[in-house]
Amino acid sequence: MAHSHAVKRYSGIMDWLTTVDHKKIGILYLAAGALFFILGGLEAILIRVQLLYPDQELFVGDTFNQLLTMHGTTMIFLAAMPLVFGFMNAVVPLQIGARDVAFPFVNALGFWLFFLGGLLLNLSWFLGGAPDAGWTAYPPLAGSQFSGRGVDFYVLGLQISGIGTLIGAINFLVTIINMRAPGMSFMRMPLFTWTSFITSTLILFAFPALTVGLVELMFDRIFGGAFFDVAKGGNVVLWQHLFWIFGHPEVYILVLPAFGIISEVVSTFSKKRLFGYSSMVFATVLIGFLAFMTWVHHMFTVGLGPIANAIFSVATMAIAIPTGVKIFNWLFTMWGGQIQFTTANLWAVGFIPSFVIGGMTGVMLAAPPADFQYHDTYFVVGHFHYVIVGGVVFGLFAGAYYWWPKMFGRLLNETLGKWHFWTFFIGFHLTFFPQHFLGLMGMPRRVFTYLPNQGLDEGNFVSTIGAFLMGVGTVIFLINIVVSVSKKYAASADPWDGRTLEWSIPSPAPEYNFAQTPLVRGLDALWKEKMAGNKGMTPAEPLGPIHMPSPSILPLIMSIGLFIAGFGFMYHQYVLCIIGIGITFVCMLLRSVFDDHGWHIEKEELEKKGAEA
């Protein structure tokens, strides 16, 4: 039945600014994440250039501290997390056979809040200096007595971005719980959807702790509060607890989706179902749970006492068990398979030893007496780059090569892909392996220089060369993206002979995802149909009009409102705060009062697109 009201459709830039389509939002997240990844990468290159030789004076003191703070903050909050969200948006609804996410408007709002928060944070470079207290921002150093306005940008930018991330997670939880296609029980969901589900749960419980910490730091800095003011009875260790109660789950928020991508890629390119699916699901859930039980291992040297240290040491070691289970399951997925070394699979295969090394040094760090030596040295820097780059970034690159055709209708070039892989992989190991030794040999972290002839010269030199190589690899990837736009890389619906539902629809996916919601008959739903001799999925419903949500400019405006309020707080211009928050509240009011009736894609249009089952 056709609708009589006007259908709002935009084109060009307005289409992207008002979209509530999860596929477009996914691309927005990937583009923004990539931009911030490059920015964070430049910050890293500058750090490594300064550390190429001892006693250099290119970037020293506060300048260097700004570089290291922004490198960490940008990479974790503005690059890795949005790239993860990008894939979740692009892929999860397709994998569960859904037409859309549960809250398209909230999903868009999540993106714009993240983006404007990130923009606010990075404007600090131009407005008096970036934050310089580390991505961990420990008071008193991060308090107003010991650091300048840069930390205000950190506190406000991350609060705004953080709200975006939280609502994005709620969106995915409801989508996965309520909107799976008929026949897709929880134990028939692809692993990437499972890891997205657990990740979203982690975000739900971890981000509020960060928000509270940031609010408390903001209250101290801007309103003279005394949470962390020792003279007034404040406690500096309280910040560390709040930060790491968030911070530890955060790293699992980053890595679990990467695990999910590896499961998909390894399985597809071995032509085998995932070995031990139930164990993998159970291991993911256990990792998610244990993630909240280990935060004190970041605080072993704070002086909490042997009992606390011992308990958290054991809990930290425990996480190694389900993680190890996963590694073995991936290896045995490949066992007996027919392994194709596409670029996506190269990244997955490169991930395995790299992440295992990172996990090994993680277990080493879990022992408090040993950690007393490792903590706050380059050993830790080596460890976390092994798990974040060797784990998360490799997983994201694998996902990029794997899902590029589904998102853009184009394949990435395989030859350039292999060049990208090998330069980045070799560069990565050159950069971070020596750092373990530098730490053991007495080099603390977050230092802008080191003395010559202390045994630290060669390691730093090699590490910087490796960083340049990683830069080259990244440039090759950017070239690949440009090259892939040309027609000869056009992709079919299912270029990899895939196993899951996203490969059962055209590339790129149509606006409505599925013309008819599919009927799922087992794990690896598409593969099951292929093995039964069918060309595609059996539909679970007849062809009919499809309801679509309306685009809206409100998410962008709401985010701008909070952005303005952020400036107001920072500069103590409270009129701006009122205006900014007012703008956001007015938009919320409009959204509440004017219900969205959406619009419909009619059956005739679907039939024209050859969608008849």
Binding site: V60, G61, D62, F64, N65, L141, F146, V230, V236, V237, K272, R273, F275, G276, Y277, S279, V302, G303, G305, P306, A310, S313, V314, M317, A320, I321, G324, F328, L331, W335, G336, Q338, I339, Q340, I352, P353, V356, M360, T361, V363, M364, A366, A367, P368, P369, A370, F372, Q373, H375, D376, F437, L440, M441, G442, P444, R446, V447, L451, Q454, G455
Partner: protein
């Protein structure tokens, strides 16, 4: 890799070259964990390499492999064995964690030192001996040193890699731990290991180990009233009184906002980072901010003459 580990770094700085029992216990645990982890890595890599070689797709090959759901026995094996391996690591870990938490303050065989971290220098007080110094920690070899560590401003972390791991110097909350040096007549390096501001990288300190006899002699010297200033250095002394005394005490009993300078001329470094030479001392006095950005030393611009006199005086503070 274990072989590599034992041969790495400088003897006065590397955690891999322990100079005391705490660092030794910690290195033992590090090697144990590393050994177990290397075993795990090798197992994983053997399977990995085998699988990639044996099951890679050959040219023209186009089969659908057997779709294996899983294997309960394998799942149990690779869950139980890691648990056992972790127990092997966990038991000594917990034991050593408690060992290292022993409180040696008040112990007869221990020396008590209070460490206060500042931006960007280290203050050392020996409360039972009634003396105070800065930047160079002098300790007797072979005795337990019981530390109380705190910060006067932001969080720092007190680390002497060759003697043992670090403990944070928190603002407002004191921590306690112990170390011990095995050998006398060593000059070991110390580092700040918590980002504390612009000159975090330059907050080095030194640890001088002495025999018991030498240490007693040093304590006696510190406690004795300052020696008379020779005539040649008296102009410098006046310049010091006019410009520096407000922040720097020269007697080991004195309390001051800035580093205590008793025994300054016997120290191996200036401000923890410059080798002790007249040249470097002049450089420091001319522009301390240039050498250590953001440090709290406020000195008037002095003429070259005045600096020369000041250097002569400071050189008498043995």
């Amino acid at each position: 890799m274990t072989f590599l580990l034992t041969g790495c770094g400088n003897e006065d700085l590397s955690a891999l070259k322990p100079q005391g029992p705490v660092a030794e216990e910690q290195l033992f645990l590090m090697k144990l964990c590393l050994g177990v982890m290397i075993f795990v890595f090798l197992v994983v890599m053997v399977i990995y390499v085998y699988v990639l070689l044996r099951y890679r797709k050959r040219k023209g090959q186009n089969i659908i492999p057997e779709q294996v759901e899983g294997n309960h026995v394998l799942e149990i094996v690779w869950t139980v064995i890691p648990i056992v391996l972790l127990l092997i690591i966990a038991v000594p870990t917990v034991s050593i964690t408690f060992n290292l938490a022993k409180d040696y303050r008040g112990h007869e065989d221990a020396l008590h030192v209070k460490v206060t971290a500042h931006q960007y220098w280290w203050e050392f007080e020996y409360p039972e001996l009634g003396i105070r110094t800065a930047q160079e920690l002098v300790i007797p070899a072979g005795k337990f040193i019981a530390f109380d560590v705190i910060s006067a401003d932001v969080n720092h972390s007190f680390w002497i890699p060759t003697l043992g791991g670090k403990i944070d110097a928190n603002a407002g909350i004191s921590n306690t731990f112990y170390l011990k040096a095995d050998q006398a007549n060593q000059l070991l390096q110390g580092r700040c290991a918590e980002l504390c501001g612009a000159s975090h990288a330059l907050m080095d300190f030194k640890v001088k180990t002495l025999s018991e006899a030498d240490f007693s002699a040093w304590v006696a010297k510190m406690k004795a009233p300052p020696a008379a200033v020779p005539a040649a250095a008296q102009r410098g002394e006046q310049i010091f009184k006019d410009n520096c005394l407000a922040c720097h005490a020269v007697s080991a009993q004195g309390l001051s906002v800035g580093p205590n300078l008793a025994g300054f001329a016997s120290r191996s470094t200036i401000a923890g980072i410059l080798d002790y030479t007249d040249e470097n001392l002049r450089k420091w006095l001319e522009d301390p901010q240039k050498e250590k950005p953001g440090n709290k030393m406020m000195i008037q611009k002095l003429s070259n003459d005045q600096i020369d006199e000041l250097v002569k005086y400071l050189n008498t503070l043995k």
